[in-house]
Symmetry: D3
Subunit: 127 residues, 6 copies
């Protein structure tokens, strides 16, 4: 029964909305079918242009994106952008400090949820 | 093992808060037990009066309700009101355009989540 | 005494955030000096493309934009988009119904503020 | 010079959105002209029924209303409801503690603005 | 098959973000690993000091905390604070009235979700 | 005429919520009179400890604070933190890019208001 429980648990995690966003490619495929205009602007402008603009370093863009998502409680999008932040050079310790700092600016509930999501992302990247 | 996995997946979906709201009747029964006043105002005023006021067409009321839910990231209530919007004459293509348009006004995260929910609703109505 | 009162009034108007947004051209000039990228995307994409996409009528785009602004309590941007909604064929009576309807979905405070701003816009357009 | 300063002050007050809400009667008159349905539900249901329901004491209703307004940063409506809370038996010291407590739950910015508004209300009620 | 379905259902509930927050101890352990500063401020200041300040009764603190969480749609944190509110002397009937009252101030969607969460908490405490 | 204009300007500045926050010292004095606990935590913990924690550079803390304020539309607190960001090494050009970037994540209205406030701060610091 143990392995089944494990399967169930993993299925549950896959179905959890916060995790889904970790697979940006799949999400974009979904979006294309529903809102082709949004997919076009996401690929062509947001990721194709805005993130590459020279006026702000990618690490800085990740800092402000993660901060905005935490502050607005956009839990579906936070996992993917935490991954991206780690890839852009923000360390796990810095993410922990961001969450601590934003508890004071966006309120404890937003920070506690961000902490729970961050732990799951950190665990998922472990060797 | 396959059929079981399917059962599990469907159970997971049933438990997902965003789906539950598609069954407004069941939700109202829940609300009545907890907050009978809210159930009374929902049935008597909001759906019994406000939605029927002559000053704004039902399709227009659906447009602004869906827009408000997307903008406020009220993910539990969006599925039911997307169904209602389709019933009130808003097409799937128009819902896609609403989501694209609101990406610019309410931010990408709100629009991406709305797109994912809309796809699920559209798929669920397929013959 | 008149000119002084006029000076005072204009100072007050400059300081009032809700009024400033009624002059979109002046706002865009301000934005260009601070965030030239934003001005470019506003002119080139948001107003140059998105609002002109054929999938949703301009009146419908005004309905959802006004609804999103009311729901998010974006009081600076509401005046300009109320003007735009009136120009796109939304009547004053319909704006009143939108505000009434959204009181139930976005809460009374958002609706009351929207009502106060709408009255000011309506009065300002009177012959 | 006094009368002029008074004129200036009154102009400033008229322009300041946070102050306007202190005169609920005037606001309701404004709302009636723009959104008669909203005025009807405000007078007939919200103040005529909901606030008078026996299940929750008026002081408790003021506590949760003020908390919700602070948390949502609804600055236009906070002054009037702070007045109402004082009339319903919430003390100035308790309002100060509410603001301190909510700094942790709604974030520092919401609390700091609430503190500034509360001071103005307190000063305005002084003999 | 029945017992398995029950197991699955309970697992799903455990994985549901809204339920997780009911076990504050486990959440704090998670937070400590990710954001040790936040755990320190939560234990030392928020629960160790703020909640114990004499200026506002624990029942009043629960009222405003629950109101802020409902108004901000912080669904992860609401279950734990509904439990706390019940422990601090807020009755189930009063929670129902809070939800009804806040439908008017924070909007129907926030209240409906709060009602669904409250029912689950009430059911979970039944003998 | 000059001194009178100055008086007027100062009155207007006092009444304008967005400007008040530029004088953090005066704001803290106001807060102390209304919510002494909040003033204590602001001075002792938030500015006395959190901002000085070694895990995140002051410039990074300014980036995430400004991002959170823009995303949450906390217009009263943005001016003071834009000043602080400039003092912590964020350039005016970078602030412009932050605003452009966040238009996509927090929506155009939040970014437009931020741009207007930033221009005023930049102008006020000019020699």
């Amino acid at each position: 029964m143990k392995p089944l429980a494990a399967t169930i648990a993993s299925l549950v995690l896959i179905a959890s909305p916060s995790i889904r966003a970790e697979q940006p490619k799949q999400t974009l495929d979904e979006i294309r079918r529903v809102a082709p205009g949004l997919e076009k602007y996401t690929t062509g402008r947001l990721f194709g242009e805005v993130w590459k603009r020279p006026g702000l370093a990618p690490r800085d863009r990740s800092l402000i994106t993660v901060a905005a998502l935490i502050a607005m409680y956009r839990t579906d999008q936070l996992p993917g952008h935490l991954e991206r932040a780690l890839n852009n050079g923000v360390t796990r310790e810095e993410i922990g400090e961001i969450i601590t700092h934003l508890a004071f600016y966006a309120g404890w509930p937003a920070a506690m949820t961000a902490g729970t999501i961050a732990r799951r992302i950190f665990d998922g990247r472990k060797p």
